[in-house]
Assembly symmetry: D3
Homo-oligomer: 248 residues x 6
C-alpha cells in the first residue's frame, strides 16, 4: 500500500517528523509518500494561513495522489480534508479527525493539548464541525515552540506530561489527544508519565488511513463527496484541473 502524507505547511522539519512517525506506524509493506507545501505558511497558525492551506492541500493531493491508496492530511486543523476527500478517488483522513475518533473508542471524554492560545478557537471550531464537542473534557494551550527544532525536547515533554495529568485530574479526561503535526512521536515519549492513553495523531491517522483503504469501499457517486461533473475553472493548478475541470 502507498499512503500519501500531505504536510501543507511549507516546512521540511515538520514533514520529516511526520514521515518518521508515519513509517513507524505503517504496516509492513506500506510505503509512506510525504509531500510538503510549496506555498503558504511555514507553520499554519492563523486563519489566513488556514485559507491558503486549504488550497495548498488540494494542490498537493491532486498532484501526488496518483498511485496512492489513501491520504493523510498532516496539518492538525485537518486543513483541506473535506475538499481532498471530494477530489480524490481514495480515502482521505485528517490527523486530528483520526485521533478524535480513535480516542472515542478508548474511553469517555478526552482532553486536548494544543499549542498557542490563539489557535484554541480554531480547534474548538474543528471539533464542533465533527459533532464531537460533547466528547471533550477539557482543553489546554501550551506556548512552547521548542518542537520546531530538530531532536527531542525534554523540557517540553515534561510540560506535556504535567498538562496531560492535569487534564486527567481536574477535568476528568479519560484519554488525551496531543495535537500538532510536529508532535508526531512525542506521545510515545510521555505516555509513561500519564495515567490514561495519549493519542499520537499521526499514529492514529496513518493506521486509520490504512484501515479505510482496506475496507475497499467505493468512491461515492452521490452527495457532496462525489466527484462533480466537469467544472468550469479559471487559472487553477493543472493537476486540479485534470481531476475537476471541463475537458478532464
Amino acid at each position: 500500500m502507498r499512503l500519501l502524507v500531505i504536510n501543507a505547511n511549507t516546512s521540511d522539519i515538520v514533514t520529516e517528523k511526520v514521515a518518521a512517525q508515519a513509517r513507524r506506524s505503517a504496516s509492513p509493506g506500506t510505503e509512506i509518500v510525504p509531500v510538503t507545501g510549496t506555498f503558504g505558511a511555514r507553520v499554519i497558525a492563523t486563519r489566513a494561513e488556514l485559507a491558503m492551506g486549504e488550497h495548498s492541500t488540494i494542490v498537493l493531493a491532486a498532484r501526488h495522489a496518483e498511485g496512492c491508496d489513501a491520504v493523510v492530511v498532516a496539518v492538525s486543523y485537518d486543513t483541506g480534508v473535506r475538499a481532498a476527500r471530494e477530489l480524490l478517488p481514495v480515502p482521505v483522513v485528517g490527523m486530528t479527525e483520526a485521533a478524535l475518533h480513535t480516542a472515542c473508542m478508548l474511553g469517555g471524554r478526552m482532553g486536548i493539548i494544543l499549542f498557542g492560545r490563539r489557535v484554541l478557537p480554531l480547534y474548538q471550531e474543528l471539533v464542533a464541525s465533527y459533532g464531537l464537542s460533547s466528547r471533550i473534557a477539557g482543553w489546554r494551550a501550551l506556548e512552547s515552540t521548542a518542537a520546531y527544532g530538530r531532536g527531542t525536547h525534554d523540557e517540553l515533554d515534561r510540560e506535556i506530561e504535567r498538562t496531560a495529568c492535569d487534564l486527567v485530574e481536574r477535568d476528568g479526561a479519560e484519554v488525551v489527544v496531543l495535537t500538532g503535526a510536529v508532535m508526531a512521536g512525542v506521545p510515545a515519549r510521555v505516555q509513561g508519565a500519564v495515567p490514561v492513553p495519549v493519542v499520537d495523531c499521526i499514529d492514529a491517522a496513518v493506521r486509520q488511513a490504512e484501515l479505510l483503504a482496506q475496507l475497499k469501499l467505493p468512491k461515492p457517486t452521490a452527495g457532496s463527496y462525489a466527484l462533480p461533473p466537469p467544472r468550469e475553472l479559471v487559472d487553477v493548478d493543472h493537476a486540479i484541473a485534470a481531476r475537476l475541470g471541463r475537458g478532464a
Copy 2:
C-alpha cells in the same frame, strides 16, 4: 463610506448582479467596490472549489481593502470570511451570515432555499458553524441554473415563490432566506407572493457591513481575529505578504 464587495467566483455576471443590488442597498454616499476572483471556479459549488475560494477571497481582500471601510464576501458559503476578518483592519461580513443574523431578528425559525442538492450539506455545515442550526425550520434545494444568465427569469421566480410558501406552510418557516450571490435582487421580485419576509443576502450584508463600520469598534488585538505577529510565509501573494508576512 467605501464597501469592498468580494466575489471569489470567477464570473463577471455574478459580480454584476451582486454589485447592482449592493448599490441599491447602500446608503447615499456609500461607494461599492466590486471585485471578481482571478482564479478558481466560475461558480463555487464543490468542496474543492471552496478550498480554492478561501484562498481567492483573502487574495482579493488583501489587494483591494485599502481605503475601504468594510468588506462583504459575496459568496454564499461565506468563503474566506473568517480569514479575511483576521487579515483586515476593517469589518468583514459574509452574505449568508448577515442574512441569517438579520432573519433571527425578524421572526422565529427560518426556511432556507438553496440551489443544488449537492451543496445542501455545505450550507448545513455553515449554519452549524455559526451555532444557528436550531433556528432553521426547513431546507429546500432547487436545481435551476437559470439565474446565471442575464436578465430576469420568471419561471424560476415562480418556483422560488412556491418553495418559500411551502416552507411556510409545511415547515412553519417565519422568515425565508434565499441563498446564492446570483440571487441578489430576486427577493424583492418574489416577496409579494410570500406571506413572510424573504431576506436578500446581499441586501442584508451590505447594510450589516455599513452598520459594523459605523460602530467604529477597534480591530481586536487579542484572540484569533487579531493580526498575528509577522509570519514566515513562502511564495504567497504580495498583498497577503504585505499584511501578514515577516518584513511587512
Copy 3:
C-alpha cells in the same frame, strides 16, 4: 425615520441614558422617541418584574408606535420583544438580541458582563432562547449599582475594563457584550482598555432597528408573528385593544 425606544422600566434616569446614546447612534434624520414604563419596577431585575414588564412593553408599544418606523426595546432582558413584534406592523428589536447578533459578526465566542448574580440565569435563559448559547465564551456578574446615578462612574468603568480583560484572557472571549440599558454609552468609555470590541447594546439596537426598517420587508401574514384575526379581550389597555381586539 422615527424610532420608538421603549424603556419598560419606570425610571426616567434609565430612559435618559438610553435616549442620549440612541441619539448618538441614530443616523442623521432619525428621530428618537423615548418612552418610559408607567407601571412596574423602577429597574426590572426579578422574574415577577419581568412578567409585569412584558405587559408594560406592549402597552407602550401599542400606544406609541403609530408613525414610527421601527422599535427598540431598551430593557436588557428583551422584555416583551416577541409580543411587540407580533403586535406591531414595523420591526421590533431587543437591545440584547441586537448586540448578540452584531457580536456574532465581529468575532468568535463572546463574553457577557451583567449586573447582579441573581439575574445571571435570566440572561442565560434569554441567550438560550435565541439558540446562541454555543457562542458564549464566559459570563461575569458585577454587583455595582453606581450606574443608576447621573453622570459618569470612574470606579465602575475601571471594574468593567478589568472584567472585560479577564473574559478575554481566561475565557477566550473575542468580543464583549455589556448588558443593561443603564450601561448605554459606557462601552465607548472603556473600549480603549480592552483588546477586543465591546458592544454597546443600545448602539447595536438602534442601528439594527434602522437597518431592519430600511429593508422594507413586509409584516408577516403567516406564523406566530402575523397579526391574528381580531381577538376577544377583557379589560385591556385601549391601545392594545385597538390593535388586537375584536372590533379593532
Copy 4:
C-alpha cells in the same frame, strides 16, 4: 391541602373544565381553589396575549395564594410560572411542564398534540426553555375549537385519537401529551384507543403540585427564585406590592 389553580385566561368555561379535572385528580382532603383572569385574552393564543397573561398570572398568584400549599398554573404555555415561583413561598408548577416531566418517566420520546398551527412555535420555545427538546418525537397541531363549548365533543375526540395513533406509528412517540387547559379530562376519554399513555396536563400538574408540597422543601433564599429584597415599584397591583415591594 389547598391548591390554587390559576387560569389566566378570562374564560369561565376553561376554569370550569380545569377545576372539574383538578378535583378528580386531587387527593382526598385536598381543596381546589380555582381562579380566573380578570384581564387579558378570553383564550391566550398570541404572543401579545401571553405577555398580558404573564402579568395576569402573578396578579392572581399574589392575590389568592395566601393559605394555599401549592399552585398550578393552568395555562398551557405555563404562562407566568417562573415569575410566580419566585414570588410565592409555596411550590408553583405549570400544567405543561408537569406533563412533560411526568411523561419523561413513562417512556422514551413523546408526541405533543396542540391546537392551532399558529402556536406551534410557542410550544417549541417552551419545551426548549425546559431543555427537553430532545425528548420530543413529534408535534401535531389540530385546528378545532370544539372544546371551548360545554359538554363533550365526540368528533374532536376521534380526531385526537387518530392523531395520537399517528404520532405513535409515524413518529415513534412512546407517550402522548395533550396540551391545552380546555383539554382537561379528555385524555381519559381517548386513552382506550391509543396504544401508549396519554397524559392529561391538569391531572399531572395537580398531582405534581401535591407532591412538591409534600416534599416540604424550603423556599430558596439564594438564586433567581428567592424572594428579592423589597423592590421599588410603581402602580402595581396591591397584592404584588405587598409581596414584592418596598414597605411590604
Copy 5:
C-alpha cells in the same frame, strides 16, 4: 398501594436506609416492599458492576413485582430502570431520574453531589441519556464512604452542607440533588444549612412512583416499552422467563 423498592446492590445496610426513608415518604396506606440484590456488587460503583446490576434489577423486578402498584429502583445510576419499565405492567421509576425531574420543577439549573470521582462520568452519561445536561449547573464528587456504616455521620453531613453551598455560590445552582441510595434521609438533616432545596432521591422517587401509579395510565402496547411477543430465551431466571419468554 404497594411499592416495590429494588436495591440491586447486595448490601442490606443500603436497603435498610432506603426502606426507612421510603416509609417516611410513602402516603398513609402505602406498603413499602424492599428487596436486595442476590448477586453482584455490595455497592455498585464500576461499569462492570453496573452491567451485572442491570441484570439483577430485572431479576428482582420479575420476581417481586406481583401485586405491586409501582416500582422504585433504588440504585443511583437508575440501573435497569428502562429494562424493568419494559418488563413490568406497572410504572417503574429510577431514584435519580425522579429527583432530576422533580428538581426541574423547583428551580432553574441544579447542582449534583455524588460520591467518588471515578463515577462522575457515569452520572454525566445518565443525565445526558435523559436529555437533561443543560439543566445542570455544576457537579461535585465527595470521597467519603462514611455513609455505609449505620447511624448518622455528622462530619460527612457538614461536608455535604459546605459542598451544596459551594454549588449555590460558585456554580449558581438553584436546587441541589444528593445522589446515592445510601444518602436516603440525609437531605432532611442538611437542608437547614443550605439556601436552596436539597432533593432526597428516595423521597422524590417514592412520591413519583405513587403519582405514576395513581395516574392509572395503561401499559403501552406499542414502542420500546411495550411487552414484546413471547421471546426465545436460554437459561434465564424463571421469573423473567415467565414474563418475557415463549410459553409464558
Copy 6:
C-alpha cells in the same frame, strides 16, 4: 494477534455469520476467537434482553479474553462494551460504535438501517450516548427476519439496496451503516447498487480492534475505565470475580 469476538446473543447462527466476516476482515496472522452467550435471548431485541446481555458480555469477556489482544462486541447495541472496556486490560470495541466512527471519516451525515421499528429508540439512544446524533441524516427500520436463516437472502438484499438508496436520495445520507450482527457480510453484496459507501459493522469493528491493539496504548489507571481496587462481590461468575473481586 488474537481477537475475541463476543456474541452475547445465545444463537450460533449469528456467531457463525459474524465469525465468517471477521475472518475475512482480519489481517493475515490474526486469529478470530468467536464465543456465544450462554444465557439470555436468542436474539437481543428488547430492553430486558439488553440488560441480561450486558451481564452476558462481561461474563464472556472475563472468561475468554486471556491471551487475546483486543475484543469485538458483536451485538449491535454495543451491549456491555463500556463494562468490558473497564474490566479488561486490552482494547474493547463495539460493532456499531466502530462503524459509526469509521463512517464519520468517509463522508458527512450517515443513514442508519436497522431491523424492527421497536428497537429504533434503542439505536437512537446508543448513538446519542456516543455524542454522534448530529451526524445522522436518517433512520430506516426494516421488519424482515430472513437473515436469521442460513445462506443468503436475495429478497432482503434488494430491500436493503432500495432502503439505502432512499436514505441517499431523500435524507441526503453520504454513508450508510447497516446494523445488526446477523448482517455481517451483507454490505459487500449490496454495495454495487448503492451510490455511497455501505459500512459493514463487523468489518469495521474487526479492523478497528486490530488498530487499537496495534497502538499499544496502556490500560488507563485513572478514570472510569481503570480497573478499580478489588471489589466486594456476591455470587458472581468466577472469571469476573478473578478480575474484579477482592482476593483477585
